[in-house]
């Protein structure tokens, strides 16, 4: 699975490089075994079916949440200013 994850990330033309995050030498060794993995178009098509492009699968590390999503008053003019006329 780690090999698939790394290969998937680095296959993308918008991705220059993907991070390994090993904690132990064993984990690094295993990750390095996957360096020569090539994902075929068939595999990528299958992944696209399971997780359609555009799907946001990882919100955990996204630090920025627009304030307007958190505060409704930022999405609304004062009542008296809302009408066009």
């Amino acid at each position: 699975m780690t090999h698939l994850a790394m290969a998937f990330a680095t296959t993308h033309p918008g991705v220059t490089s993907a991070l390994l995050g090993p904690r132990t030498m064993e984990q690094l060794d295993d990750l390095l075994v996957g360096m020569d993995v090539t994902l075929t178009d068939e595999i990528l098509d299958r992944i696209d079916e399971i997780v359609p492009p555009g799907t946001d699968v990882g919100t955990l590390d996204q630090a920025y949440l627009p304030p307007a999503l958190q505060r409704s008053d930022l999405r609304r003019r004062p009542v008296e200013e809302r009408a066009a006329v």
Binding site: T16, S17, L19, L20, D36, Y64
Partner: protein
């Protein structure tokens, strides 16, 4: 998966093998001769497709054994990985990386970050010029180096004017402390207003088109494309690809190479990036309430 990777790799390997026959024999045993290095954005800097993240070294959730962590770093370098990413807020990670890179610094593209809180002091966080200038010196000291190859804003700081942050990053490049800076997490509406860039400072100004958008929905976040599994965090640590995004420019700038500085400024001009102090090109600021 028995035939797919083999065929394509074999073809590519043949091409590499052909080229390698013209190289000195010792290079055939050099793992770097096999690694398909990629260009980081349009900087001209080549990095391995696998980068080594260091969140798991000397942090509360990571490997407590510094020597073991250093061995892991050396192993990664030995196989041709040349891109190491750390952060000031990753516990003692910067110190460990600094130790590991003694004598090997020149072969590494070193990235670190600023912005997350580094103590109880409310000013020891964020992206103010005041803090960036202090934080970068702290990182340089811990990393035992005189320059950082990629200096990243780890988190956006809505309390600091973006011009303040970008001009500070630009100054770091001009002073030689950072080769390149990146502001990976600007909210889209902010970054889109800043179509001009100080030389060497880059950020995500537009959403990558086409396939990239599976996980790159925010577009402004370089790190939003992340797959997580038991032992690997694979998230996007690269910069924008030339195909999908607007130009980013950087030049190798250091105290030693003032000529390169002049050159990088010229190249910046050639792609219509503007100096940070060019008021005539500064985006109009809107009143925000």
């Amino acid at each position: 998966m028995q035939d797919n990777p083999v065929d394509s790799v074999t073809e590519a390997d043949k091409a590499i093998g052909t080229a390698s026959t013209e190289r000195p024999p010792h290079l055939d045993h050099n793992p770097r001769s096999r690694m398909r290095y990629r260009t980081l954005g349009r900087t001209g800097i080549k990095v391995s497709p696998y980068a080594l993240g260091t969140l798991m070294f000397a942090t509360a959730i990571g490997n407590p054994d510094h020597d073991d962590s250093i061995r892991i770093i050396h192993k990664a370098l030995d196989v041709g990985i040349n891109f190491i990413d750390t952060a000031d807020a990753y516990g003692d990670s910067e110190e460990v990386v600094g130790k590991a890179l003694r004598g090997r610094r020149d072969g590494v593209v070193l990235a670190t970050k600023v912005s997350r809180p580094m103590g109880d002091d409310p000013n020891q966080q964020g992206t103010s010029r005041r803090w960036i200038m202090t934080a970068v010196e702290n990182s340089l000291r811990r990393l035992q180096t005189d320059h950082i190859d990629l200096y990243q804003i780890q988190r956006p700081d809505p309390t600091t004017d973006i011009e303040e942050t970008l001009s500070a990053l630009s100054d770091l490049i001009h002073s030689g402390r950072s080769v390149r800076s990146d502001h990976p997490r600007l909210p889209p509406q902010t970054s889109s207003k800043h179509s001009g860039s100080p030389s060497g400072v880059a950020w995500n100004g537009s959403a990558p088109s086409s396939r990239p958008t599976r996980s790159l929905t925010a577009a402004s976040s370089l790190r939003c494309c992340r797959s997580r599994s038991a032992t690997a965090w694979a998230y996007w640590c690269g910069v924008r690809s030339g195909r999908d995004c607007s130009p980013a420019v950087s030049g190798r700038v250091s105290k030693r190479t003032s000529a390169a500085l002049a050159s990088s400024r010229r190249s910046a001009t050639s792609v219509a990036l503007t100096p940070s102090n060019s008021s005539s090109h500064s985006p109009k600021r809107r009143a925000c309430r």
